[in-house]
Symmetry: C2
DNA sequence: TATTGTTATACTCTATAACTATA
DNA sequence: TATAGTTATAGAGTATAACAATA
């Protein structure tokens, strides 16, 4: 039927779960990309970067953006360049460190983002409307365990 | 902290859930890509294609692969070409339709895939080991609702 | 020396559309 | 005309590594 056919034939439960999770994420993500492109002529990474800045009105340094978006620095430079060219974000000097910038939304960027975010939220609500509030909470909690476990493992490797 | 900072400031529950789900998927997927590349010099789409064939020993037509992998036909051609060049899959003629092929694993491909699938399975089991069997089942079921709802919506649009 | 950020580059993945050949 | 598959192209998305400026 779809991606869930992937994997080894023994198909333990964790594998089945992963394939289904991947399918769901891809379904939603594909829809988001299409709609962001069609309705706002933008992309998911651009939306992500602006979303990070919306939550940090004082701006974020490039390396902070890089870490939060989980991509390498060079990519953040590229996306930021685009958004600066469209006057949606701006690079501010950081007092005391002439190497660094603080990137933040412009007034125009904030306005543009608010509009996109409203739509984005509606798309997401629709995508999960089959679940009751309790189920949404339950799913969120279970995924929290997965995430926490992953981060714990990362720390062990780094240490 | 990470991607979950994305989104509108009101952050209804569905949005929080989506951001967490996206984070989890990306964490696992990034790890899979890295390990597939380092240990087997391959990629996720190549692995996906072979996994589809492993579950269909008689092979699949190009358009069937395209649908199951959720990508367009041209891409399947490209990935198949690579795998054919490495003698991991082969294109068989379809009796009665000279336009179509049936793609299937070669003996070498099956052997290579089995090895990868074993590792892949172990990675996935590790990724979800924070969850009890009951929790895995619960997560699987909840995501099933999301998937089903999405497919139901698709059908309505098509009809 | 280490860090911040940029540049340059290359590759994977993807969609679109035009194309060939069969049906 | 419609379908199976390919080709060509363009763009998104990403990682790597070399680099400049500053700490």
């Amino acid at each position: 039927m779809d991606m869930e056919e992937r994997g080894h034939s023994e198909h333990p439960e964790a594998l089945r779960l992963w394939l289904r999770m991947l399918t769901c994420t891809q379904l939603v993500e594909k829809q988001l990309r299409t709609q962001l492109r069609e309705q706002f002529d933008t992309t998911l990474p651009r939306f992500d970067l602006m979303a990070q800045l919306e939550r940090n009105p004082d701006g974020l340094k490039m390396n902070e953006l890089s870490r939060r978006m989980m991509v390498t620095g060079g990519n953040v430079t590229g996306i930021t360049d685009q958004l600066v060219a469209e006057n949606l974000v701006e690079r501010m000097d950081v007092a005391g460190d002439r190497r660094a910038y603080r990137v933040r939304l412009t007034a125009r960027g904030r306005k543009a983002f608010d509009e996109m975010a409203r739509q984005h939220e509606a798309w997401i609500v629709t995508a999960f409307e089959a679940l009751s509030p309790r189920e949404v909470e339950s799913l969120h909690k279970l995924l929290g365990k997965v995430k926490q476990h992953h981060n714990a493992n990362l720390k062990m490797e780094t240490a």
